[in-house]
Symmetry: C2
Subunit: 321 residues, 2 copies
């Protein structure tokens, strides 16, 4: 099912979130406006703001408080992408040159800071101190996850538990912020807040696992960015871990991490993941997290949002980009 169909219950609201994002680009200083325009109108999937809006529609919600929170999570997400690309010196994202590629790394770092700030302003516009605090804690969690990843680059001694912890910090935390804040802002009872938070967490883990699989088995055209980039950055993801488990002696992942014939061995590692059951095994792990996510929804009222969140869980594992 395409995202546009899944988003149908919040279609108009998402357009209003886009308006809020556009208004963030209206600044005096035209070079900054240009940067903001470039990174906020790039056709992202808008999954995180959709999660906030959908999660916020089970109980007694006030749209004028949900909208800024949805904008806040999207702005935070964009900021982390801008910083990640600068740090990794990535050249292409979503089929276009990255901010660091067009304007240099220093501009990308400062633009990311500006986006974090605008995200914070939007979070404050919820008029709710609990969501504001959660927002700041989530940014701390994401940054700690990224720092963890940076210190573990090219480290072969990482377990699956490390991997799940790492993606829980760097990806799932923002998904659960998106859902939990929607619940809080709509006066959901605490067990529903917890259920939606857990749903976001499990969905986020599944989302990142799929991202990591696609970096092995997709194509640059589908992804809008080079594949094999995790290996190039020395990030040990689930497909690489399964290769290491299955071939305990020498193997292409080990060789890439030990800087032996990197290009050739990256190609071999991708082929190994593609032409074995490894990709399928990784998919199964993601599917299991998505099933958990759907179970988390059980105690919530059955309505259009409930249906959409279930469909979104299916979309996440089926997506090709």
């Amino acid at each position: 099912m395409p995202l546009s169909t899944i988003y149908q219950p919040v279609e108009e609201d998402l357009a209003k979130v886009d308006d809020l994002l556009s208004s963030a680009t209206e600044v005096n200083f035209h070079r900054l406006a240009e940067l903001l325009d470039y990174c906020l109108k790039d056709g992202g999937k808008r999954i995180r703001p959709a999660l906030t809006l959908l999660s916020g529609k089970f109980y007694d919600y006030n749209l004028s408080l949900l909208l800024p929170m949805a904008a806040a999570v999207e702005l935070m997400h964009t900021a982390t992408l801008v910083h990640d690309d600068a740090i990794d010196q990535s050249m292409v994202r979503r089929g276009r040159p990255t901010v660091n590629e067009v304007w240099s790394e220093d501009k990308a770092v400062l633009l990311g800071d500006y986006l974090f700030a605008k995200a914070g302003e939007c979070a404050a516009d919820t008029q709710n101190l609990r969501t504001v605090k959660l927002f700041a804690q989530t940014l701390a969690t994401i940054s700690a996850g990224e720092i963890n990843q940076a210190f573990n680059a090219f480290n072969l001694e990482q377990t699956r538990e490390h991997y799940i912890e790492r993606i829980s910090y760097k990806t799932a935390s923002l998904f659960s912020l998106a859902t939990e804040s929607g619940a809080i802002l709509s006066q959901a009872p605490e067990n529903s807040v917890k259920a939606l938070k857990e749903y976001g967490h499990n969905l986020g883990i599944a989302f990142q696992i799929i991202d990591d699989i696609l970096d092995y088995i997709s194509t640059e055209v589908d992804m809008g960015k080079p594949i094999g980039s995790d290996l190039a950055q020395g990030t040990l993801t689930l497909p690489a871990m399964l290769i290491l488990e299955r071939y305990p002696g020498d193997n292409p992942v080990k060789r890439v991490f030990q800087n032996r014939d990197k290009q050739e061995n990256t190609k071999l590692a991708l082929e190994l993941a593609r032409n074995s059951s490894i990709a399928q095994e990784c998919y199964q792990v993601a599917v299991d997290y998505c099933s958990k996510a759907c179970q988390n929804l059980n105690l919530l009222p059955y309505n259009a949002s409930h249906r959409a969140l279930t469909e979104l869980a299916n979309y996440v594992v089926e997506r090709k980009r």
Copy 2:
């Protein structure tokens, strides 16, 4: 008068702010703890948290709300320094290698993000949405100022108005956040909030002008970092502007900006500022802002904080590092 004497009315409170900063370094992940420890225990002057505490002691204050705000401004300041050093590839600050120098630029970017997040958490701990919003707006202002500066690197066509606007964004905004938030959190009447905000603004402008003078006339030993760095980065500050005004033809600043014999001409520009009335003229501009800052205090009750804020204005123009 040394800072320790000026800070006397808030000495115990500043120790509690240090405790809050220390508690921010208590994290599971030991490599992150090491980074936080390094950049939060480096003997900064603590001017910004002192401003919040002093500004918060004119009316009906609750120390448990002032302390997290004081910690928030110091954390935000530290984050901006960590990012600035990474962007400028600076190697030394406060007499020690920078974070980017010890751990690499990518770690510095992520650490700065983490510090912004912890700053946001502290701001949320004020339980006051107005200060939270102000906090986020200030980070946006600072980042916009830095982006402005980055786009104007090596641009000789900048007026004094541009300069004052730029330092107002990148430096004075945080000083005025520090003072305004202290006032807000202590239930100050609106005209006092405005007066303390203006005081912070004027003090911040003076502070940055002095910083920019010291980058021409101080020494690396006194400053704990190389001097002449503004010229090296292509940042046009007040001393450089006065050189350009006084020598409208060719001059060492122009030559540095046009990449002609950079090292030799940097030396000449510093000598020119030192051995002429240029440094003195710059000082006079800073002194004028400090006088304005002291005038802003006129409508506030006369107490120990009032005295300390006046002394701090004098310290700012007299400081040697």
